[in-house]
Amino acid sequence: MKLLDFVVPEAILVDLKAAGKESTIREIVESLHRVGCLSANDVDSVTRAILSREELGSTGIGQGVAVPHTRHPKADRLICTVAISRRGVDFAALDGEPVDILFLLVSPPSQPGDHLRALEIISRHLKDERFVHFLRQAKTCEQVVDLLEEADQGIP
């Protein structure tokens, strides 16, 4: 499995408008809706499910990165997108640092393996400081896609 197998390129956001945790999650979920991955009726439900998951423990995993996610019955396959915040969002991360890179995942409850594998792949790339650095610098959706493609080619 590769990043671009589950990251929806059209939904990538390189300049999040939202400043708070809840509004940030909503903005990203709405982006998935805008490109047709989720119906309008599901935006609220998916946003709430992701926020409930955050209440159990922040998905801010350090170094300015968060992976908000939910297993949701409305997802018919694993979907994910990347969002970058220029100002940083307080995500109550383990290391206390604001988050500026987000990988938001929605996965079908029936496919726990895909969810685990996606987290594995994202984590492995996030350990590459160069990848994270360039992701932070990306100004356009195309630049993010190029980086993801490059990362996908680098890992066997």
Partner: protein, 122 residues
């Protein structure tokens, strides 16, 4: 002159009795029984607990040897249910660390499959 009988001075440290706070290295194997595998929430619990010990915690699996105090390292294992991990603790509290971590892995909070409040069926 007693040139021939002169002994080189012994370094004082070599004369001291071995200290009894030598770091221990201990190993234990644990099985991941969480039905969703080692996903973020159990990893978070594991790392938070590991960080409370001074000892270095390593986790070995499938040729990987990773830092047990790093969320990215543990998530990067992508370990599904049934995976057997080797935990290695090195340091003054190695035994306590292994006890605590292996108890966590079999605990109900580590294995709770529900990681969200929503129970929507449709």
């Amino acid at each position: 002159m007693t040139d021939g009988s002169r002994k080189p001075p012994l370094a004082p440290s070599l004369l001291e009795a071995p200290s009894d706070d030598v770091d221990e290295t201990l190993k234990r194997r644990v099985e991941i029984t969480n039905e969703y595998g080692l996903h973020l929430r159990p990893v978070d619990l594991f790392v938070r607990l590991a960080l409370t010990f001074q000892s270095e915690i390593r986790v070995r699996h499938n040729g990987h040897d990773i830092n047990g105090k790093s969320i990215l390292d543990l998530l990067g294992l992508g370990a599904p249910q049934g995976t057997v991990l080797e935990l290695i603790a090195k340091g003054p509290d190695a035994a306590a660390a292994l006890d605590a971590l292996s108890q966590l892995v079999v605990s109900s909070r580590f294995n709770n499959p529900e990681d969200q409040a929503t129970e929507d069926k449709d």
